[in-house]
Amino acid sequence: MISQHLPILQIVVPLLAAPLCVLLRQRHAVWAFALGVCWASFGVALALLLRVMNDGPLVYELGGWAAPWGIVYRLDPLGGIVLLIVSGVAALVLVFAPRVLDQEIPADKHYLFFAAFLLCMTGLLGITITGDIFNVFVFLEISSLSAYVLISMGADRRALLAAYRYLVMGTIGSTFILIGIGLAYMMTGTLNMADLAARLGDVHETRTIRAAFAFLTVGVSIKLALFPLHVWLPNAYTYAPSMVTAFLAATATKVSCYLLLRLVFTVFGVPLVFDEMRLAAVFMPLALMAIFVASTVAIFQTNVKRLLAYSSVAQIGYLVLAFGFASQAGVTACVIHLFNHALMKGALFLALGCVAFRIGSVDLEDLRGLGRRMPWIAALIVIGGLNLIGVPLTAGFISKWYLVMAALEQREYWPVAVAMLFSSLLAVAYVWRIVEVLYMQPPRPSDLQSDQREAPVPLSMVAPTTVMTLGTVVLGVYPTFTVQVAQRAAEFLLGVAA
């Protein structure tokens, strides 16, 4: 009985839990409650993923109203894996949370923090699962507004400016999405995505639909932080509280990427997007510029959080590149990288959270000799770095492998494959800067003295970081799970599944 209603439980449970957090107030109780909700969500997401993998796409009618009139939730393997990423990262990050929050956020604001966190998770899950395009806008705003709040809670006053700038750009993005939805509705008279896809066939040559698609693409690109529209991202990631950075870096841009895939492949369709609108001609150069410019900028950063934020912009470039191939191999590579990058960036930002907890800074200067002071965390950071480069036996390698294979599949894209391999060298450069500081430079004597007085990083923080980092290694050695899910997801997206 209850298993039929899992899709709605995925959304309603965290949504209702958020106001309950505000009522509970007592910070330890709120944390325990939020933790329980997140793990329950993770369980639901896992059950849903298994079901869509076995039985194919799943449609849930809200309140029993049939599709074009009522709102439906629709889930395919791609949605399933994104739900798993969002709820899984949220669950791990909340395990990590309590000690680091004590340090970064005033104790009397914790309950509000957890409420905003749950709302943000609800929004991201909602975008993923819904089959109604206006619902996407609503959930997008739920997740964005709560993300602005979460970022503004950073200890540095620049967090406020970062949140303000994100708010302005994010609102422009979502307003563009709203315009796009309106124009598409004008021509088709429907908001249901499947229905929209069916009716667009008759009107896809009108200027209104092209404008709708353009607005939607630009709006989603802002949320995705695609290269020239990424300016909100570095500051937001740098100044947000550690666990917020880890959560958003692992989930928010991934969900936007999912939304792009969903809109292009299941709503507007490949003929309109890639043959008429020639989206690849716009996105491929932007993606390559994202990879090269952002990687180069990353090399010159002095704050490690900021360095990794720019690395994120570059990794989004890889995602968009894979999407631009518009082939089954390309979409498979995109989904694999989506999953792997969520894990590796989540792990790296959590490791940085541990570092910030212990030494109160993430500037390269202050990380000198950290390999000796915090050997385990430093090792985890190195593994994360190897992932970013794409060294064999890490999940990053699997991503790069499928990306290059997808590029080589289409003859004319071989320079893209070469560029991709070359860009890995830039990743080597920025990862090497961190490794060099961690291991090659001696720790300052004053730091070693203070180490003896201070308590070590608690297990509640080390454990989630370790789980995520080792996850990337396991998925690098046994990639069957990700690859299988990604292949199924690509099949459903491109409509070739039996």
Binding site: R157, L160, L161, Y164, L167, G182, L191
Partner: protein, 189 residues
Amino acid sequence: MLSPGLYNYWIVVVLMMAGFYTLISRGNLVKKLIGLNIFQVSVFMLYISMGKVQGGVAPILIGEMPAHGHAATHAAHDIDSSHDLHHDVHAKESPPRHPNESEGVLSDVLPQIDASPSLSPAAVQLAELQKTGDATIVYSNPLPHVLILTAIVVGVATTALGLALVVRINEQYGTIEEDEIHVMDPEQP
């Protein structure tokens, strides 16, 4: 190009660009938010315009329940161009009962519904159309209006949050001018 039917959409474009330009060109954080608001409001107008059907009435079912005509009249009252038609109805059918119906509260009207069935404008339109042999009623599309109510709520939330952030920024920096803030915290590349 400049046909009167597109008048609303031209206003939308002008408002949108005015808001967007304000957002980009002003250095004052509150003025930026005002620009953002105008930008959003233009989209509200876009949605409201697209739902309006010329000569359309509020979409209320009248076929089965003529007895509830009054309530329907009430709801349709302020919405669109059925206004004139509506007053005609009252002039012809029920002027003595409540000439100021539009200002009356619902409780004043409700008891009279059963006692005095009168026709809504849509019903009148239906009757007229049936005389001419065409039995369709033109409704305005309510869905975009409902959608935009949601978007307006979102817009209010965004503005509130933006202003709250500006208040906090003012507390921390003592100014809300962008260039003065950049002097205090130089922008990193």
